[in-house]
Amino acid sequence: MLLSNRPIAKIHDYAAVGDCRSAALVSRYGSVDWLCWPRFDSPSIFAAILDKDKGGYWSISPSEPSQFERAYIRGSNVLETHFICTTGRATLTDLMPVASEEFKRRHLLPDHELLRQIACTEGEIKLKVAFCPRGYYGTREVEIKNLGPNVLRLEIGRGAYSLRGNVPLKIHGNEARGAFSMRDGDVLQFSLSYSEESPAVLPALGENATASIKRSVNWWQGWAARAKYQGPYRDAVVRSALALKLMAYAPSGAITAAVTTSLPERIGGSLNWDYRYCWLRDASLTVRALLGLGYIEETESFMTWMLHATRLTQPRLRVLYNVFGGIAPREKELDLAGYFDSRPVRIGNGARHQLQLDVYGEVIEAAAQYAQRHGHFDRTTQKVLIGFGEYVAAHWNLADEGIWEPRSGGANHTHSRLLCWTALDRLLALSDKGLLDGVPRQQFELERGRIRQQIEHRAWNDNLQSYVSVLDGDSVDATLLRLPWYGFEEAQSSRMKSTYRKIRQELSPGDSLLFRYRSQPPEGAFGICGFWAVEYLALGGGTLKEAYDVFDQLLKYGNDLGLFAEEIDPGTRDALGNFPQAFTHIGLISAALTLEEKERGDSHPAAQTGENVKLGSREVIS
């Protein structure tokens, strides 16, 4: 692809770099078009992805028409973009430097840093640098000051940003620009750092920056090497794990749903939401993925966060929290053009007050899986889990907004009922195993049986010969594929097989993709739903070969780096929605783990958890 002017990048043209406190999106053309400091949900300094004119960006790109290639350094979140011109080649390395806690205790490092190194690797190449920061999502002008040799400074709110390079940039109003010629062997470095405390640490460049890159690559590779999965999809699984890790907020243990806001689910549409918060549902599914890969520290850290963060609302759980367990901000619209004119651009999230009963089941399921593999619960945790169960036992019959968070009000969602059943089922299983004291068994068994009865009778539509999305309804959604995953129904049962056929018939746009539900106008195919189908097939709904085939097809919808957004446009194959999206990567890892378990002949972890009490639940019905 030959390009001369500043090209417009699409969602799948981006890569993410981060340090587990914040993240930046770098386009395949060398432009940082999204960055929020100090946290994922802080206001942006670069937001060109949402408004190319007002948002702000920082590009390093060739002056001449070039070809662009890129890849993460294997097993890391350090990105390399190669510029290939007729006169020469150069490699741009982008990263947020990371180091071990021990190293950080011994060395003075900036609080936050984005390091960019460009090295000419062949011939000669002319480059241009444009540093165009904008405060608070592009709504505030900035004043760039020259602090001396090659150091620029700007202050926004309580934070000071320092840009250091080993070549000068010239200030033009609220931008700084430069143009340079490089020859084979030349190296340029730029470091943008952020601090809320003075004196700020200004990192040295040169060998220090080179060492920082090496240290970061080593750290990520060491982390990635710990992934236990050894199946045929290791590269895709490790990339997904690295993407998930980027969305973890290390100071608290929270895991955000994505690092962006308002990337649209439909181009030009209004389905633009802020995903820089922690959805308990997504994060709980992450536990399954990280536990399965052997990342115990991340799992423990999240479990601790979850119990602490939800303390103020227990036994009621909110749908989403900020990284420190606070309520997500009220939804607000920004005066930005939006990604390809998809407006409004929103910050904050209006789903914060919704009732989504499935969250309880996900959280308890995560706790059950954690306990199954790694030990016991202290008394406080036991009380908290039982409190969730009691809430479910008292409220499972309510209409709720459900997993898809429509803004149109509540309904009796089958998936929410399924997860309420799961919540009580897992608590009883934990009680059976002696891991929970004080479970009100009789009440939980009774309510679990009632939920089963309701699902079996009112969520089954005889005319359609399918389970349906809402009780007594006549349409399907992809969450019905989860009935076997949680151990409610055998995947090979006639009911599930005909439900699967119905889902394929109603929700497939072709190939292996699935819509989450039918909508008009149609939105993109929902990334995780395709992976749910893989798991359904692997669990017995089809053959392992069928599951592998679907999985292989789905992998092709990731971008060239293996990253997925929330949705995929079935027509253009473009990524849609916030990016990268934890939910989709969770689905990929979970499906790969299920395939591996089936290959080994292991039973599915979720099914194992509920196994002990399954017979009991049926006895209550009879």
Partner: protein, 158 residues
């Protein structure tokens, strides 16, 4: 200085302070749990941490009450509102200085710079301990003000 009066009212004021803190958490006003936070300096075991932390908080409160008593002695008088004023000052110091220093002192508390290494650590309190809930500063100020009021009202100068 009236040692007996300090021992009695220092102890009782600390008990009230701890009770208000625990009550604020129980009522869902804040997530901060002083005994747990202090106890985890010594052990990661949640149940034991609360016990150890309660004892540490008791001793610490007792020791802090000496400062109140010294001020009353220096002023030559006590009184509930003087105690309340000292309590407000105490609360501000705890919120502004104490919470900022805590991640550096606590072996099991993450700093705001933690990462990407994941470890099962307590989250840092943040400015004014706001990471533990937006009403945390209020709960801490009320608890310390009442702590001071009790000392001011009941401590008898020698």
């Amino acid at each position: 200085m009236n040692w007996a009066s300090w021992l009695l009212w220092g102890f009782l004021a600390t008990i009230v302070l701890t009770t208000i803190s625990a009550g604020a958490q129980g009522l869902g006003l804040t997530r901060i749990n002083f005994p747990y936070m202090l106890g985890t300096i010594f052990t990661p075991d949640r149940d034991r941490a609360k016990l150890y932390g309660f004892l540490v908080h008791l001793v610490a409160g007792w020791i802090f009450s000496v400062v109140y008593v010294f001020i009353f002695q220096a002023l030559g008088t006590g009184g509930w509102w003087r105690g309340a004023l000292i309590g407000i000052g105490h609360g501000i110091v705890v919120l502004v200085v104490g919470m900022a220093l805590l991640p550096g002192l606590h072996p099991r508390m993450a700093s705001e710079q933690q990462g990407p290494t994941a470890k099962n650590l307590l989250e840092p309190p943040g400015f004014l301990a706001l990471h533990y809930g937006v009403q945390t500063p209020l709960a801490i100020m009320i608890a310390h003000t009442i702590f001071g009021m009790i000392l001011g009202a009941f401590y008898h100068l020698a």
